[in-house]
């Protein structure tokens, strides 16, 4: 992948990820969000946040399995969009559903478990967004940065549970999200288990060869 092709690929992700937000804003402007516009916007942005979280978590497995190392370029953009949609999700709830009332938002959040779980998901994404720059990666050091960014798993789990908890009866969609997430996280567990195993067996193997 040449430098300029990579730059173009970045642009592709950047633009396409903004398309749903643009259409949602356009539809809102045109009063075309249906019977319950606020709810529609909340649902749409929430769904997009989950989709982008899963896409972000898909990058590494896909990269390892396919050998396309260059796709790592998209992870930061996808992750930042996940944060952007989650933040929009919260702000629309705060602004239009709770009429910008901090007290009513906090009162509602304190009482509703699904809001607590959802807020947790958004909350842990804040440090991830803040430390997403190259300078911050350098400052933290790769190891610490990677450890911190495992919070993305927490955000995705919280997001899916938050969705599951407020569905009335039809849990098929949240379960679909949960299944995909389980596969993505399961793959990571398998990988780290395999790495630990090979790290343990390798020295023995070498000594055997020496003998």
């Amino acid at each position: 992948m040449t430098e300029s092709n990579l730059r173009f690929a970045k642009l592709l992700v950047l633009v396409n990820a903004a398309v749903p937000a643009t259409l949602l804003a356009w539809d809102a402007w045109q009063h075309k969000l249906g019977a319950n516009p606020v709810n529609f916007a909340i649902r749409t942005t929430g769904m997009l946040a989950l989709i982008f979280l899963l896409l972000t978590l898909l990058v590494t497995p896909l990269r390892k399995l396919s050998g396309w190392n260059w796709i790592i370029f998209s992870r930061r953009t996808l992750g930042l969009y996940a944060f952007f949609y989650a933040l929009a999700h919260f702000l629309i709830f705060f602004g239009f559903d709770r009429a910008f009332s901090v007290s009513s938002t906090l009162a509602e959040m304190a009482k509703r478990n699904y809001l607590i779980v959802g807020s947790l998901g958004l909350f842990v994404m804040v440090p991830l967004a803040v430390t997403s720059t190259n300078a911050m990666i350098k400052r933290l050091g790769g190891k610490r940065w990677r450890a911190l960014h495992r919070l993305a798993y927490v955000a995705a789990i919280a997001g899916v549970i938050h969705y599951y908890m407020q569905v009335k009866a039809d849990v098929r969609q949240p379960l679909a999200f949960a299944s995909v997430l389980a596969i993505l996280l399961g793959w990571r567990l398998m990988e780290s288990w395999r790495q630990q195993k090979s790290a343990r067996t390798e020295p023995n193997h070498k000594s055997e060869v020496v003998k």
């Binding site: 398309v19 606020v38 509703r112």
Partner: protein, 325 residues
């Protein structure tokens, strides 16, 4: 040594042209991918819209009223026909409120029958035409409060359930009325999923069923009920959460014991048999204190018994509404 390059300098595309072509190509790819993403978004996520073309109801009378009976809401705008018919909780077709209208569009009600049975002196299987002749259609403008904390104001057409009950003459053992929706997964595709136990069943206490506000509706906005709103006949109990208003009724049975009800079976801690609108008793997972009135911005406070306390409060005198939610 071999000559590395046999292409003559004249054949090489000039840099300016090359980069122009590249920019052109990239712009094309960018635009095409954005359009594709937009189309996917639109396909997966679109609010519903459309027209209603059901028949006009003949001889609809507007009940003269001073408003005290609760027969017509005053001072609150009616929800648009478009919104009433494109935002529906009707799991027999879809669990997506904005998808019900499209899924129900071809629902056929020809040959519809309604069986009225159980503890009555005159049980009878009505054809739809005979059923609608029980009493002349009246217009009633009611608030409709969904358990999901949104609401509408709907001009229904129908007649009081009490007229039907008077016609079939319940025996003295009858204490409750049980209702049942059509079960036909071919015509109601949502019934192929196990989201709820089918058929949908609902029930009322006999005094609730006899209350003058309790309506068997066959139309709205002066037209026959569109399929998505419960064609051909549905129940409307304006002081209760919307899920009590069972749709597409095929059976009405008078019984001695409290009958099972679908949402209560699905979530006994969340949906009670009574399901009276009550801003003081929250759903375990969300507040019932306020509601999103469809078509309005901002939320309004939810009223006790959905604003019908004066008319129905006495039915529940002495009852603990936290226990009997």
């Amino acid at each position: 040594m071999k000559e590395p390059n046999r292409i003559s300098p004249r054949e090489i595309t000039p840099a300016a042209t090359y980069f122009n072509r590249r920019t052109f190509l990239q712009t094309g790819i960018l635009a095409a991918s954005a359009v594709a993403t937009g189309l996917v978004y639109r396909r997966l996520n679109h609010p519903a819209a459309g027209k209603v073309t059901t028949a006009k109801i003949e001889g609809l009378t507007s009940v003269a009223t001073n408003g005290n009976e609760g027969f017509r809401v005053v001072g609150e705008a009616q929800t648009s026909l478009e919104n009433i018919t494109h935002y529906n909780n009707f799991y027999e077709f879809s669990t997506d409120k904005e998808e019900v209208a499209a899924k129900a569009a071809n629902f056929e009600t020809k040959g519809w029958q309604i069986s009225v049975e159980g503890l009555v002196r005159k049980p009878r299987i009505f054809s739809l035409a005979d059923f609608l002749k029980i009493s002349p259609p009246e217009e009633r403008i009611y608030r409709m409060r969904c358990v999901e904390a949104w609401s509408m104001v709907i001009p229904w057409a129908g007649f009081p359930l009490s007229r039907l009950l008077e016609a079939v003459e319940p025996t003295s053992d009858a204490k409750y009325v049980a209702f049942e929706t059509l079960f036909d997964p071919k015509r109601m595709p949502g019934q192929r999923s196990g989201v709820l136990d089918w058929p949908y069943v609902e029930g009322l206490r006999l005094d609730e069923a006899m209350h003058p506000l309790t309506l068997l509706a066959s139309g709205l906005y002066g037209r026959a009920l569109p399929p998505q709103d419960g064609a051909p006949v549905r129940l409307v109990v304006p002081w209760k959460y919307g899920f009590k208003g069972i749709k597409s009724i095929v059976k009405i049975k008078l019984v001695a014991e409290q009958p099972p009800t679908t949402w209560n079976l699905a979530g006994p801690n969340e949906y009670g048999f009574y399901a009276n609108v009550n801003p003081q008793v929250d759903h375990p997972r969300w507040s019932q204190a306020t509601e999103q009135r469809i078509g309005e911005s901002g939320r309004r406070p939810t009223l006790m018994f959905n604003g019908y306390e004066e008319q129905v409060g006495h039915l529940y005198a002495g009852m603990d509404l936290r226990v009997n939610f």
